[in-house]
Point group: C2
Chain length 146, copies 2
DNA sequence: CCTTGACCTCAAGTGAACTTGAGATCCTAG
DNA sequence: CTAGGATCTCAAGTTCACTTGAGGTCAAGG
């Protein structure tokens, strides 16, 4: 019946450390009210926010990106199913793109790595759009497919 | 005709910064010989090693994991196509798993985020095996599906 | 009442993967 | 022969996403 949850309860239910919750709050990803004691009390929908954060991280978004996304939720009222669905819909292209990227990688895995292309600049897998190469290293195409 | 490449040439062809190459060498991911000047000279197959490093990173491996994988390559001779294929084959299950993970996420995106499951512990998407939850936060299931 | 465990703040530490800076050397073109 | 770009080493800095530690408060059970 509890309307609000302690940090420990949230941590347990969400499977994240209390320190991470304090961190998320400091970063503006979640919010809490304070009991008279000064202890945090989290509204129940924080669990959904955390679920969202975790999913978004899996899709490769930074906490900054996630903060921006969450900022589009109504803060006057508790976000309802529709609000969440709208937000989630926004990830679909991102997820699809990431899947496509990995499928490209899978299909070319032996072909490309084992192939004769000595230059990464002409390698379809590492350089899907036949360009880029000057954008620096890192898991760029999976994480940031722009 | 050049048998060996300067760090600048490798950096340009591979699309990574020279500092990253020095770092990779210090980490034991690539090797070089030295010219009389003290400058690095990289064997041509370093380009393939770098390609491999980048791909493996995209699949979510740490440089430590990648070092271990590269360590299985023959160091007495230049690795041939077959060596690389064997190594690449090892990634397939990993890539497949990552794809499967993302597909699960896609399929449940609106369903799960927008659904009524308040507890992450019973959410199929965030907790594919109906367990874990105590393993801590982060993109664990995509990156490290153990 | 007292202890114990959950909670608080704030500063500092961690690890991964690099980058940046300082100060010095090397090599190539004019 | 000299200027300028490429390279060298080594230490320190950066970003992200948290965790850890110190020092102190709060709340429930015996």
């Amino acid at each position: 019946m509890a309307e609000e949850l302690t940090i420990g309860a949230v941590a347990e239910r969400a499977g994240v450390a209390p320190s991470a919750l304090r961190f998320y709050e400091a970063e503006g990803l979640i919010t809490s009210v304070r009991a008279d004691s000064g202890h945090r009390r989290f509204p129940r929908d924080v669990l959904r926010r955390i679920a969202f954060i975790r999913v978004a991280q899996q899709v490769g978004l930074s906490l900054g990106d996630i903060r921006s996304a969450l900022a589009t939720l109504p803060d006057a009222r508790t976000p309802d199913k529709h609000d969440w669905e709208k937000l989630s819909e926004g990830w679909r292209p991102r997820v699809e793109e990431q899947i496509a990227q990995l499928e490209r990688m899978r299909d070319r895995l032996t072909g490309c790595i084992g192939c004769g292309c000595l230059s990464l600049q002409v390698c379809k897998m590492l350089n899907p759009g036949d360009e880029a190469a000057a954008q620096g290293p890192g898991p760029r195409y999976v994480i940031d497919p722009d």
